[in-house]
Subunit: 151 residues, 2 copies
Amino acid sequence: MVSDRGEGSGPQEHRLGYLLKRAQTRFARVSAEALAPYGVDGHELAILAVLAGDETLSQIEVAGRLGVDRTTMVALVDGLEDHGLVVRRRSPRDRRRNLVELTPAGRDCLEQAERARRIAESRFLAPLDEQTAAALLRALRTLVAEETAQK
Amino acid sequence: MVSDRGEGSGPQEHRLGYLLKRAQTRFARVSAEALAPYGVDGHELAILAVLAGDETLSQIEVAGRLGVDRTTMVALVDGLEDHGLVVRRRSPRDRRRNLVELTPAGRDCLEQAERARRIAESRFLAPLDEQTAAALLRALRTLVAEETAQK
DNA sequence: TATTGTTATACTCTATAACTATA
DNA sequence: TATAGTTATAGAGTATAACAATA
């Protein structure tokens, strides 16, 4: 595991892998705490956000937009449906497809949880000044975009 | 999972959690590929690097410096020992402690793998100009330091 | 034949508890 | 009583293959 330590800065802080892992782990915890009151985690919230768009999407379309595969999608939608945040409906035009739609409760949840997420994010980034935070996000976007570009 | 997608940029690229996860996952893959020829992974290489310092360290001391807990440490040292890169030796002064030391092979491996790691890191950061890459590392260091500061 | 949703399985990581030997 | 090392176990997360229904 990557435990917290009482010691000062470790000797690994020049390693990109170490820094990315730590930052990711820590933000995941902060984010989970912020979203817990709303009964969703980051993955589920991202799904709700995608579903809030104009088009009605099938499971595999949602999966595609989030970079999640369809087998993982099943359990995620199961959870959201169990909590009454989305409903599944067979597409009349292609009966292989499950259309996924937000319920009113899902829309409420999305609004509140999104606000919580934004607050958690700014709080996490608070130790950075505004330009630095923006530069961080821009740099990460560039690196992540590079990934898809190479495919 | 977080699969690669053929599509252009997804709708999630404004989310810090998404960006950190992606960046971390992608760098982990790049790093693993770069280190594979040397028979170590990132964790193991970090241990070798720590052991290259002046003091002779026990398992728990190594674990402390890397932010890994002692139960995880056992298997990591097992692996390194199996590959002949380190040796364990009981501390004569406190027979509870296992001192871990680099073998000559371990020192060789460290040198070569460290070089590969540095190259992989610069290659990963290549899409960023130098200042941006430096700013990214600085920002991550700040955020990660914040974590230990709060403990 | 290919695609969508689904299930099952396996494999990696990590977290926790408990045991031993030493102090 | 506490600490270092170890082992075992359980829980996430994820990757893969295979199946049924549909195209």
